[in-house]
Symmetry: C2
Amino acid sequence: MTSSLGLVTPHTFTFGEAEPFVLESGATLGPVTLAYETYGRLNAARSNAILILHALSGSAHAAGTHAADDAHPGWWDECIGPGKAFDTERYFVICSNVLGSCYGSSGPTAENPQTGRPYGLAFPVVTVGDMVRAQERLLDHLGIERLLCAAGGSMGGMQVLEWAAHHPGRLRAAIPLATTARHSPMLIALSEVGRQAIYADPAWNNGDYYANGHKPDAGLAVARMVGHITYLSDASMNQKFGRRLQTREQYGYEFQTEFAVESYLKYNGNNFTRRFDANSYLYVTKAMDYFDLTQPTGSLAAALAGASAIKFLVVSFTSDWLYPSYHSKDLVRALHTVGADVTYLDIESTWGHDAFLLEVDTMTRLLGSFLDRLAQEEGVARP
Amino acid sequence: MTSSLGLVTPHTFTFGEAEPFVLESGATLGPVTLAYETYGRLNAARSNAILILHALSGSAHAAGTHAADDAHPGWWDECIGPGKAFDTERYFVICSNVLGSCYGSSGPTAENPQTGRPYGLAFPVVTVGDMVRAQERLLDHLGIERLLCAAGGSMGGMQVLEWAAHHPGRLRAAIPLATTARHSPMLIALSEVGRQAIYADPAWNNGDYYANGHKPDAGLAVARMVGHITYLSDASMNQKFGRRLQTREQYGYEFQTEFAVESYLKYNGNNFTRRFDANSYLYVTKAMDYFDLTQPTGSLAAALAGASAIKFLVVSFTSDWLYPSYHSKDLVRALHTVGADVTYLDIESTWGHDAFLLEVDTMTRLLGSFLDRLAQEEGVARP
């Protein structure tokens, strides 16, 4: 597949060598590495930077390709590039891999300097707050005092809200998509089932499997299958698969994958084990489960009191049962309470949670015009 | 716990010794045993029999207790007994364990007469149609030509619909609750994730684990956890658990069960492995996945053409996302097309799929008055 951005270069940024990074838990971590990529150019006023935040299984590779023969471009390539929603002719787009992940940032797969071997479960539990404070160090490193915008869906949206609530002076606008300010018990339950599937795999070996040549792939695949069901909707599964059999003409009356929807899950579950780490799955889902902006006061409006000068574009999707629209509506209500400038859209879509990635035309129009107005109001010069 | 029915006696009925039972797949099975229980007495006209059909993990033990110190009565004890919805002073209530299950009926845990050991995966794949045809043999054995009613929720409701569509002459009324005439791809996907969790457990050993002293408990527990999430709703989980921590005052920043919803899932998942068989989980979910009354014509009305003389009480629940109300509405539409007498209620409830078991007061009023009218119209004498 081709990308309008062409080849892009992965970067890393390391900090906390001299003084370790203090996590929300009180634990310390150092050195800390973040993998990141950038697209487009920073303007002279350093006012055109947009930070893209990724979801559970995402990486810093949001757009472009790493090699001429790459099978796929970055995960949000359809929205990042020249003339796209995040127009790289106008904006300097940054995406970094979150702390705890396995795509080049510090996480359980990284080398533990104390042992010279991968951290495994010796890696400290991190929070969305920690992820964002690490990104803040990256912005310092890149010399960006204030972002034009932070944008992301799902866990990416949680990071956007964390930025807005706890670092409001560092962004002009925020685009949280298909997300929540407070992980619900249903979301925690779904995370926990995925984690239990990993724990249940003997190859997981309490997180110590990197030297064994045998990873907990079976458990991770089951976790991912649960995830895939939650990213779709009843309606989209009816449209996409129905009760179609994958290869057979009639029921086989045996325990083989035979419905098309079963093949889809199995394929994606197995595929995931080739690109993601089981321990990272534990860390990143745990960070999501801990996410609750209403703490410690119990009031979301109180948490967002400092965000009144930020412009928000909040988007939910009618068939997203993982992050149902009421989460976004609660957020919008809190933002109105603090007097923030909010645009909210509950988009009619049958694509479930995945809609924020799949409804490309709608998202392009919506994000594009929001950013366009924002850039004009802010007098953001082209690079 | 006490039951108004007191002690009840489990029975078994065996058939197919001389001539084996031919399954929908074409495979044969014999002998076939069904475990069953009955409550109340058959009247002289044999016109007051009600067949209760159970769901995925249910058994023939629908009401009463098996011993004075039983911790729990049967699974629908709140609705079966003197003066209850299924009033045992008036009706002869029968419940049999489905084919493929592990509560006394023929299934993978039963002895394979060819080997003298449990069947395991040598047990043939059965369908909801097979389950119902086996129940028909039981009715013949009990001397019941025509049921006053067949009633059940979830997979029990599928059996009710199978009775109505393919054996309409043998029942006067049908009560399908929280169910569907056609298992959707989302339901298949959820079944398959549970099965994959079992397959992924090395102790499953391709279904051959009965002699190993080591069952695939870890896999079955994960499958059940997925199930439990689907039986609840986002709203009921918010009410029941919220983000409450089970024992801690604050986050532990480690991979332990700490949220109340996690404890609930873990407890129920582990508990299930002490009472259910992993292979039976495969067989029963597969039967549900194959269930599609619209086949072979593609028309549900065509499938129900013979059911026009049956009175239906169809019930769905607003927060049931596993069997959303549209399934019941499609069914009601088809029943109207064939001219059946249908009462349909979409009950406002936050309890999700479990509502059919939990909304006891509503169900008691509803089922009780439906049966009351039915018994009067039919001139059903007390036993």
